[in-house]
């Protein structure tokens, strides 16, 4: 910092460096923390208002602060529709994540390991994945509804699962593929040389090595599934998952328990993320 006070030297370079440092040390950090504050602000509002008392009448979130209460945390399951929608979302997330992770991982292995004449159609497959990620979600959701109606499939848990798997596969495949590209294949060859068959090799050598990538893909799939509104809204029929239920309820009035669920999901997610960050730093 002492450089700042000295007059510019003959070359003028130290002064420039000092200027750069000032931008890096003061202007940009201040600005960046303001952006972070903006991103966090609505979350703080949600957490604070999950402790807001309701004075009278219907038990709905209100815009005025009526005093602190933990009532909604104690009565978290008092809104039957909300609780069952939440558990539906959890079940849906788990089932679709398992299927999408398995299919996406196999696909990623095929895409990384085989090219040219060994895997005709690889380019088409990659383009389909890309299109799947890039297509507007409303188009996919609407076209799924059109398909289910045309085939006379009644909408419910099953249609939700197949749809969620559909939009998760590409994300899993891309995540696992990124992890696989640095994979040392001589380890597998060593297993083959030691007499392991392909299944054993996959189970004991390949899978443990790519597990971090597979877990990252699975987390991605679960996060996509649990937060999905647009596609679910088209294909859920009468069994509404959490976001669909919350949206429907909010058009009449939001029960305070919605903020309780939001706060708890946020807390679990952020703790998981920061823990995995701490673990990866310890390893490094």
């Amino acid at each position: 910092m002492s450089v700042d006070t000295t007059p510019a030297s003959a070359t003028g370079r130290p002064a420039r460096v000092a200027h750069r440092r000032r931008v890096g040390k003061f202007v940009l950090p201040t600005y960046s923390w303001l952006v972070i504050a903006y991103l966090v602000f609505p979350i703080i509002v949600m957490i604070v208002y999950s402790f807001n008392r309701v004075v009278a009448g219907l038990q709905l979130v209100s815009f005025t602060w009526n005093g602190f209460t933990t009532q909604w945390y104690q009565q978290w399951s008092n809104v039957p529709g909300l609780t069952s929608a939440f558990w539906l979302s959890i079940r849906l997330g788990i089932v679709s994540t398992i299927i999408a992770t398995i299919l996406g991982t196999f696909l990623a292995i095929a895409l990384v390991r085989y090219r040219g004449r060994a895997f005709r159609g690889k380019v088409v497959m990659e383009q389909v994945l890309f299109l799947n990620i890039a297509a507007p979600e409303i188009v996919m959701g609407a076209s799924l509804l059109a398909l289910f109606v045309a085939m006379n499939v009644s909408r419910g848990f099953l249609t939700l699962v197949v749809s969620h798997v559909m939009f998760s596969i590409a994300y899993v495949a891309v995540t696992v593929r990124a992890r696989l590209s640095g994979f040392d294949r001589s380890l597998e060859e060593a297993a083959y040389d030691l007499g392991a068959n392909p299944v054993t090799t996959f189970r004991l050598v390949t899978l443990p090595l790519i597990m971090p990538g597979v877990m990252a893909g699975a987390l991605m799939a679960f996060a996509l599934s649990i937060d999905d509104f647009v596609t679910s809204n088209f294909v859920s029929g009468t069994s509404a998952p959490f976001p669909v239920w919350v949206y429907g309820a909010s058009r009449v009035g939001t029960p305070p328990q919605v903020f309780v669920f939001g706060t708890v999901i946020f807390a679990v997610g952020i703790v998981l993320a920061l823990t995995s960050l701490g673990l990866s730093r310890k390893k490094a």
Partner: protein, 304 residues
């Protein structure tokens, strides 16, 4: 590998060896078959059905539809819903521009000055994703509402007039879109800026570039692919979004997503909804195609 083996033993491949070779040949297809079929049936086929619904002509009397390759339906729906397309374009483009301006400096800061805290700051950028999209938008409705604490405070301080309101206007929709899609802009920008070799920047300074010149002639050109990727990743979902408009925009300023959603879920007008969806998909593909033409098809995948 197996090709070399079969060349060494022409005709004399053992039965076991032959099976292993077959298995190896089939492996990529077997590995990609389940995912491929899943995507074919639930992603490609529905899109084809949607397109064919658009191109069919139905007789109102019998309700029967025949394929007539009626491409004229597409410009027809665009004309019919021109205001909604303009609104979507205006709102999505404004939100995307706001996001680019907001997130460039923070992406730059994390990439150049983040040090060992880079990952922590990236999680902070992603923090909105830890709260459900619907709840985030509901909280903004709450914050911006006429009797919410922000407007209450501003009115109390006489900074705005008593009948000033945000909720139910296009500004609220743009604000909601900008907030909800900010991480989609910031992450590709970060990836692009992170990749810049600091030595290139040092070289610019050594060659007497001032900060402005170094930024405009080194940093900015090197991040163009990231900026364009950020634009697409924000603009495409924002253009088709209807949740922000429905929660924050009130009944005015209908976006095209709302029209599609209503055609399918309220009016059961599948033909109209399908045509609009095809147009929406075409607009997105056009953006991606432009990207691939201008900047190469490989680069965009690096930002996903």
């Amino acid at each position: 590998m197996e090709r070399a083996v079969s060349a060494d033993h022409p005709g004399g491949v053992s039965r076991h060896h032959g099976r292993a070779a077959w298995r190896k040949k089939l492996a990529p297809y077997l590995l990609s078959l389940p995912a491929g079929v899943w995507l074919l049936v639930l992603f490609i086929v529905p899109l084809v059905i949607m397109l064919s619904t658009t191109l069919e002509t139905c007789s109102p009397a019998s309700g029967r539809c025949v394929m007539t390759w009626n491409w004229g339906e597409l410009p027809h729906v665009v004309n019919m819903y021109r205001p909604q397309f303009y609104t979507s374009l205006l709102f999505a483009a404004s939100a995307t521009l706001i996001d680019l301006v907001i997130s460039f400096p923070i992406a730059y800061w994390i990439a150049f000055y983040g040090g060992h805290k880079k990952n922590f700051f990236l999680i902070m950028l992603l923090v909105p994703f830890f709260v459900s999209f619907i709840i985030r938008t509901l909280v903004w409705e709450f914050i911006l509402s006429d009797n919410g604490f922000v407007l209450h405070f501003l009115k109390g301080a006489h900074l705005v007039t008593a009948n000033f309101h945000v909720l139910g206007t296009g500004y609220a929709v743009i604000a909601g879109l900008a907030y909800n899609y900010l991480p989609f802009t910031a992450l590709p920008l970060y990836v692009a800026i992170e990749r810049i070799d600091h030595r290139v920047l040092d070289a610019a300074y050594d060659l007497y570039a001032n900060r402005r010149a170094a930024f405009l002639r080194v940093v900015l050109p090197l991040t163009i692919p990231g900026i364009f990727a950020a634009f697409l990743l924000t603009f495409i979902p924002a253009f088709g979004d209807y949740v922000n408009q429905e929660i924050l925009g009130g009944t005015a300023n209908t976006m095209i997503g709302t029209v599609i959603q209503n055609s399918f879920l309220v009016n059961s007008d599948y033909a109209g909804g399908s045509s609009l969806s095809v147009v929406l998909l075409a607009v997105s593909l056009l953006g991606i195609w432009l990207y691939a033409r201008l900047l190469g098809s490989r680069t965009i995948e690096e930002y996903l």
